[in-house]
Symmetry: C2
Subunit: 485 residues, 2 copies
């Protein structure tokens, strides 16, 4: 059960007589659930288990356990059941595992963090149990990195299909007896899809940034990777589900047909907001980490350093009083406003936590009570970093028509963030007049990006085989001659 790693109930007891660990599932709630490949195929698995040596619990450790022999027969003292039919990803044979005193060699302990000697002595270079636990879990980060990237890939597929369909499907006309209008020429249809295209561009930059940071990881960067990947995993997978839903609806009835992919991808990727951490919980973890930074800097009266919070050492930013189109589209206004939100929310969150605790509420319950600001803050942090990665990549594009388009995408991303999160109005970062200017500019940017729509989704580079009939000629693909072929 991934939700409560530290509270894992499985126990591995060291038996020095045989130089083995004995792994046991002590109760039904300790069964291993959702193990990918376990139901039918896997021959080995990595088991996270409490380590018991001479009656003393050394905390959670990881062990290799063989599940099946090479003919596919389940090994003795192991029981495996299928997780059953799911709403998506049925190509993965998720399984559930019980261990009935399964014996494994001592060498099967994954010992990069800690080891056990043949006579049963526990050795670890990391003395603090919390740090040791974190070191054991560090490899799990890769899950959040790959989920974030795959979320963006499926959003790209959905948008490529929905935009191409909106460029061939017509409905109604503005003038009687004139030809019907392309869906994407409706301002409301532009507003449905183009901000999602801009977000997907920004998040593509963010995903690549996270991937590179993960590949080049060092012990020093582990914490940053943990926090950024938590925030990105939540924001990018939520974006993916929302994008696929909007694309499904934007394709109308055609979006319901399985062959048109969009609706089907929703089912496949729904799990992303849950696995490797519930998205709401991850957002709270991001805010917890930010609060840690905040408290450390304030206590020691030191400048902020890390997680991109260095900007907080500067004076409070000021939003220009008149938001012209030029200002709204300047990266300076955009980053200033995104940072203002994050900084203010972090201050408010710290104040709320300190208030709860001084009123006698313990730390964990204070966090539980502060979920509203925690989730707002987690989003503000993620949006700000996503924006920074986009801005960074924009800097590598040479001046010309392409850079103009990229600049519009960047503006649409930033202004959509501001329009969609009520926090900008709720906490007064934007007055009602300024929020109205932002909203009007979003509609304007959508119409300016409309002529580039096909190019923008083509640039995702989705292979034709991943698209669907309505992404090409939807009338031909629905003709009688196609249906009877």
């Amino acid at each position: 059960n991934v939700l409560k790693v530290r509270g894992i109930e499985t126990v591995a007891t060291y038996d020095p007589k045989t130089d083995e660990f004995v792994i046991t599932t002590p109760c039904e709630s300790a069964q291993k659930y959702w193990i990918g490949g376990a139901a039918n195929h896997a021959t080995h698995t990595v088991v996270f288990s409490q380590l018991n040596i001479n009656g003393r619990n050394q905390g959670v450790h990881a062990f290799i356990v063989q599940l099946r022999d090479f003919d596919g027969n389940i090994c003795p003292n192991i029981r495996i059941a299928d997780c059953g039919h799911k709403i998506g990803l049925n190509g993965v044979d998720n399984g559930r595992i019980w261990f009935d005193n399964v014996r494994i060699p001592r060498e099967n302990l994954l010992n990069s963090v800690a080891d056990v000697t043949p006579d049963g002595q526990y050795k670890s270079a990391i003395q603090d149990p919390d740090q040791r636990f974190a070191a054991f879990l560090a490899p799990l980060t890769s899950g959040r990195v790959t989920i974030s990237l795959s979320a963006i890939y499926s959003a790209q597929i959905g948008l490529a299909i929905a935009i191409r369909y909106a460029l061939s499907r017509r409905a109604f006309s503005f003038v009687p007896n004139e030809p019907e209008v392309l869906l994407l020429d409706y301002p409301s249809h532009q507003r449905r899809l183009l901000p999602l295209v801009a977000k997907t561009y920004a998040m593509t930059c963010a995903g690549n940034y996270l991937k590179k940071m993960y590949v080049k990881r060092t012990p020093e960067s582990n914490k940053t990777i943990h926090v950024v990947s938590s925030g990105f995993k939540a924001v990018l997978t939520w974006h993916n589900m929302r994008t696929l839903q909007e694309c499904r609806e934007a394709c109308g009835g055609q979006g319901l047909k399985t062959e048109n992919q969009v609706g089907h991808l929703k089912g496949e990727y729904d799990v992303q907001s849950t696995f490797e951490g519930d998205n709401n919980v991850l957002m709270q973890q991001v805010s917890k980490a930010l609060l840690g930074e905040f408290i450390a800097a304030k206590k020691k009266n030191k400048p902020f350093k890390g997680l991109g919070l260095e900007y907080m050492n500067e004076p409070w930013p000021v939003i220009p009083s008149q938001l012209t189109s030029d200002i709204l589209r300047s990266s300076n206004f955009q980053i200033t406003t995104l940072r203002l939100r994050e900084r203010d929310l972090l201050n408010r969150f710290a104040a709320e936590m300190s208030q709860h605790q001084s009123s006698g509420v313990n730390k964990e319950y204070a966090f539980a009570l502060g979920y509203q600001l925690a989730e707002d803050l987690g989003r503000a942090f993620s949006d700000r970093i996503i924006f920074e990665t986009f801005l960074n990549d924009e800097g590598t594009v040479s001046t010309g028509p392409m850079k103009d388009v990229v600049g519009k995408l960047r503006s649409l991303y930033a202004l959509t963030c501001m329009e969609e999160d009520a926090a900008f109005l709720r906490y007064g970062y934007l007055s009602t007049e300024k929020a109205a200017a932002v909203r009007a500019e979003v509609a304007k940017l959508c119409s300016e990006l409309r002529p580039h729509a096909l190019g923008l989704v083509s640039s995702f580079g989705v292979p034709g085989a991943f698209l669907s009939p309505i992404a090409f000629n939807w009338i031909d693909s629905n003709a009688w001659s196609s249906s009877s072929a």
Copy 2:
């Protein structure tokens, strides 16, 4: 194609020599799509078609056409294909139909609105072609009524499952070594589910109100039913999809298992936001109708009458300057604030439309440009009527503990509407301080309704067979003994 009824391309030509209509599908885009039951089973269908008499088009009319004989063989000159695999509702055999000069008896014209005499004279009591068209379409309203109701039923099922699971599933603990906490004791989990319960209660009242209005319909109430059913269909089906998604995520991995219903229902009901009118388009239709009322009243300098707009004859409402808990929970504050939003948005929408048109933009394109306010207004109208139906039903509950709970649900519904729609801040109906008070009260109401959660979802009366294993004993249902049974 439901999206463009008036532009239907199918033609029925009257042949006085044989006293028949000849029905033809002139091109691929005219094929009838998504016809429920057509792919395999239906023997007859109602065809909407242009009616051509002596070369003159009399507009869209409805005809009965036999599709199959009673042995199930497709009739001559008719071609039928399956719509293919869908992401939901595969129990319905949706089909596509082409007519190749199919001859039907003259009596097969559905003639309550208009008729054709044997010698080819067209007769109708309704002279205005627009009114005649509306009369032909009126029976389609029943689709939106039943969709609205079924949306609420599936939201009820999802919530009953998710709340019951949250009352047995535990995770983490607030105090080390204390028992883990029930999911529904987390304030964040209450905030995810309980406002959806309150909304579902309000929308259940609204659905019943719509159903009764439909059953007792008169020619005078047709327009109201058309507008209200359009708004409700959009708002209730969006609510359903959002509720099922939140319930799916709130059930974690268990929500992914098909046996647990919630995820599966999402796929089944996804189509609701599309069929019988795309929800965004329906919202725009609601606003168009409201604008019609507005213009009619202003032009004739007459009081508002109909669609519940009578309140607009009163002076502009005033929101109290200090929002105490008592005020926030008073139905007077709630209805005043919901009406203020609707009234102001209607004024703004009328002003924007008039501005567009005076700048030379035609009416249809003006509506296309005004989509933002149109969608906000459609929602404001629907929320206000939903609230009124809830308030009305609350009035029938006798004083006592039950009425207290119903009052809290009504408050949670109203305040959640205010918290979730940024329009309240954007247009200044609520200042930032007042919006903060609303937000805090939502969290408070959630915790006060927490003890009633099981009772609230039990009152939906969902039969046990419609629930799922996790709605009962999720540990037992996942035990080895269950999986191997």
